[in-house]
Amino acid sequence: MNIKLKSGRLPENANEVVLSDAVMADGASITVGDIIESEYFTRSITGINKNREDTIFPLYNIVLKYGETVEVPQDFPYYEENDSFRENKDYSGKKQKLTVVGIIEAPYYEKIASAAYTAITMLDGNGITAHDKFNLSVKVNMEKYSLASQSAFQDIVGEREIVYNDYVFAFSGKSSDSTINILVIALTVFFVVLIMFVSVFLIYNVFNMSFDERSRYLGMLSSIGATGRQKKSSIYYEAFYLLVFALPAGILSGLGIVKLGMMAIQPFIGEMMSLSQYIEGSSAMLIISWKAIVAIVVVSTITVLISAYFPARKVGKIGSIECIRGNIKKKTKQYKTNKSITKHGSAEKMLAGNTLKRQSKKTRSITAASVTFIVIVIVAAFGSSVIEKVVEKKLDNEDVKPNVEKWDYSFSMADRKENESIRQEIRQAEGIAETAEWYYGAYGATVPKDCYSKEYWEDVHEIYNNYYQELYNRKLSDKEFNEIISDEIHHICFIGLDAKTLKEVAKATGTDIQTLENTDQPAAIVVQEGAVSTDQIGMENIKLKRSRFYDVKQMTDKKIGESLPVELYSEKEDKISSFPIQIAGYAVNKQIDKFISIRSGDLYVFVSADIAKQISKLTQYQDGTSMMVPIIYIKTEGENVEIIDRLQNLSEMGREYLFMKADYTNTLRNAIIGIVHVLLICFVLLTSVICMLNMFNSIRSRVDGKAREFAIMESIGMTKKQMAKMLLYESVGIVIKSILYAGFVAFPLMYMIQYGMIKMFGTVTMEFPWIQMIVAILFTILAVVGLTKYSFKKEKYENIMERIRNENV
């Protein structure tokens, strides 16, 4: 119930109650154990002022006349005695003694201005009659729950409504939405495969490195009679002991890290997923299931065995003398001197270049770790953005979304004179930082079919193809499609902007403001981006197995200066008026997302407030309202703003009003995207740490392995500075090589992801993760150069001869 107990306990029967602490905050002195008597009544108000025609409560949609009695809701404020109206209490006669067993924090649904406080008792089954109405919450066992359970539940409750908590089910891929389920499963597979791939690669890297280091030792073993099989076994034993110690350590430290991570993000998880009002305190628990542990053990064992298999096979094949001499694969190729380098006397460049070219094997492990890191960052960022896009497409059912950074709430109302007083009140209310008053008009204006672009119609055709495929197992011919759409009405939607916003939008889109402000010749900015999906366009009640989305980059092919032949319909006059609008400019979301973003299946245009008013006059309904709906965007100065509660109440009461949080569409979307981001960050951090350790290992052992070469270089007169410079050139070479290889790996992977997503969900425009790629490359440069420098500094360079001799022993 989202309540937080401050003291006492929860009620255990219908005679016990917990009270909101707002009661005590407002001066009452009630403590746990007190008995309170409750009486039940309905509240109403009666107009008592003969001289006053109407007493208006705009936020409660109440217009009270003299002598009239109106029932008021529970959260109607308590007004002191006044000359306008009287408050009545109509007692039901039922009285009950209740024991206060606990005090709770005022829950989020308790309105500030309300005259009542929250008291919660327990509904025990004994007192329920067949006519009683109540909500029943059921907690399911997620391990046993499946989509089949849904129909079983429905059989139990019959025609009663079941509301599923998709917030929870979505994360297990068991929500009522198959697109989200596929996405969650795809996401899980994506991360598991990626982490397995990375692990195999990096563990293989370690085995390979250790093999290179110990080739001489293995050669010695071979020379005293160790068979290939025995040498292979030595690698497998090593892998086995690695598992015996690393697996428990890995599982324990993994759980520890997860627990720490949970503790770290716990305070922010509500905010991160835009669910702060529902999530409080320590709601997330670390559950360890034996199935998960078995899966980890199996997957880790397979991973390590695969990683050990290749080096083991290699070890089994090589001969003893080659190992001892260190020329397992003797090169026969001849290498010409690079004249341009020797001509300019750069020994460092020559050494670095030749090392990279002629000893590429020795830098392979560093390159591999760098490539893995870059690929992981790019692919994970791309994968996450793809998932974000699909979630956005699937869950953002709204065509028009205000910028949630700029606005907190929106309040729309019918275009009536009476509503001007509400607008006035909002503008002047305490705690309101900023407001903007716009007009919205949809579904009362039409344009000919050719106002929509060829691209748009192609995508709509694709949507119909999906349905035809499902229904008739074939695609829809052009002729059939044209017949279908020729009957359709093609809407155009208007957004009338206030003068200030219009100027800014005109500037951002490069549109001439004077053209837009000209009231004699209506002009508009056309929003070029749009989207169509199977969620918007349906056919014969068919529910497709999966939703399909199609981004439209150009909603109209009409040029700037051309006219949109708009027709407006007035219900009041039953008249269609021609209202041509000139295209003054185009807008894309990047230009206007400071205020709003629009991605709709309909053509949207921005017009001035004056033009919006003209349209309003031509699109009047019978009741005097019009297609154009005034909307106020509100930015508050903080929380607990009284007028916000009142606007919400008004919205709940009257259908002419609609009050919404600006980010209301974001809840489930943000919840899923939030989880994806957390997973992604954890995943990238984890793999980065593994890659960095691997890189550090590779660089350290490479620098160690070069100790003799360094000593030789020093003995023939190479200074430390020159060595450091040579290593820097080498590092740069490794990074360049890594970037190229990473490109070869990452691009096909990204293409595969995109291809898969398009196949599954439709044409979703995806952005290349440039920033993440640049960050990954910079980080790799820093890591390779930094770790090489560090390793070089750590080397002990006291005696040249000792280092040369050590290697000869």
């Binding site: 020329n327 003797k330 090169k331 026969t332 001849q334 290498y335 010409k336 001197t337 020797t342 001509k343 300019h344 006397g345 750069s346 020994a347 020559m350 050494l351 030749n354 090392t355 002629r358 000893q359 070469e709 030789i712 270089m713 020093e714 003995s715 023939i716 007169g717 190479m718 200074t719 430390k720 500075k721 020159q722 005696n799 040249i800 001869m801 040369i804 000869n808």
Partner: protein, 233 residues
């Protein structure tokens, strides 16, 4: 003209009970263009002496003056620069850089000095060393004798004031060993190149102008065999 002088050189390894005196107050000098062989049993300190002379090992006490410069008083980088310009070192195990081909190994000290490659000199040295058909080979693709010739080429390329060879034939067969000594002697004679050579082989030692015998870190005999570049005395 004196090119090298060492004064009271001592080198000890380990401490207290495990203390080993590798060099015990060794002093001698070498004239420019002189060919000196150092002989002695294993562990007599001859390699240690050569490495200290070459600046790749430090004495516990004493001085090494090459062309009047106290090399061990130089800072690390200065000493490295001094080595590449004034000293040519030849090792028993060649110590070539595995990633460089024959040409590059030979020319490396020259390039380290920031100078462009002297093609003529390289061709001459490669020719003299009999490596003309192996110029693009890596050390791992060469025989021991060929590797040692590359090592000599590298030591001689920068016209060093002094060439120090640590058992250059120790790892080679007789024929290859003879060729290597011939090359070193040729360079000593034609270029007036000072040469100090360590060997176990008496016949090689006797080809020098002067022979120094060492035992237990001390010079036990310093004998002139012939006048510089001349006949046996």
């Amino acid at each position: 003209m004196e090119i090298l002088r060492c004064e009271d050189l001592c080198k000890t390894y380990g401490e207290k009970d495990t203390c080993v005196k590798a060099l015990d107050h060794v002093s001698f000098s070498v004239e420019k263009g002189e060919f000196v062989s150092i002989v002695g049993p294993s562990g007599s300190g001859k390699s240690t002496l050569l490495h200290i002379l070459g600046g790749v090992d430090k004495p516990t006490s004493g001085k090494v003056l090459i062309g009047g410069t106290d090399i061990h008083a130089l800072k690390e980088d200065k000493l490295a620069i001094f080595r590449r310009r004034q000293i040519g070192l030849i090792y028993q195990f060649y110590n070539l850089l595995p990633v460089l081909n024959v040409d590059e190994n030979i020319v490396l000290p020259h390039l380290l000095d920031g100078r462009a490659m002297d093609k003529e000199r390289l061709d001459k040295i490669v020719g003299e060393m009999g490596l003309s058909d192996r110029r693009n080979n890596l050390p791992s693709q060469l025989s021991g004798g060929q590797q040692q010739r590359v090592s000599i080429g590298r030591a001689l390329f920068n016209h060093p004031a002094i060439v120090l060879a640590d058992e250059p034939t120790g790892n080679l067969d007789r024929k290859n060993g003879a060729e290597i000594i011939h090359l070193l002697k040729e360079s000593n004679r034609s270029q007036k190149q000072t040469l100090i050579l360590i060997t176990h082989d008496e016949s090689i030692a006797l080809q020098a102008d002067r022979m120094i015998c060492m035992e237990d870190g001390k010079i036990t005999k310093d004998e002139r065999i012939r006048v510089m570049g001349g006949d046996v005395q």
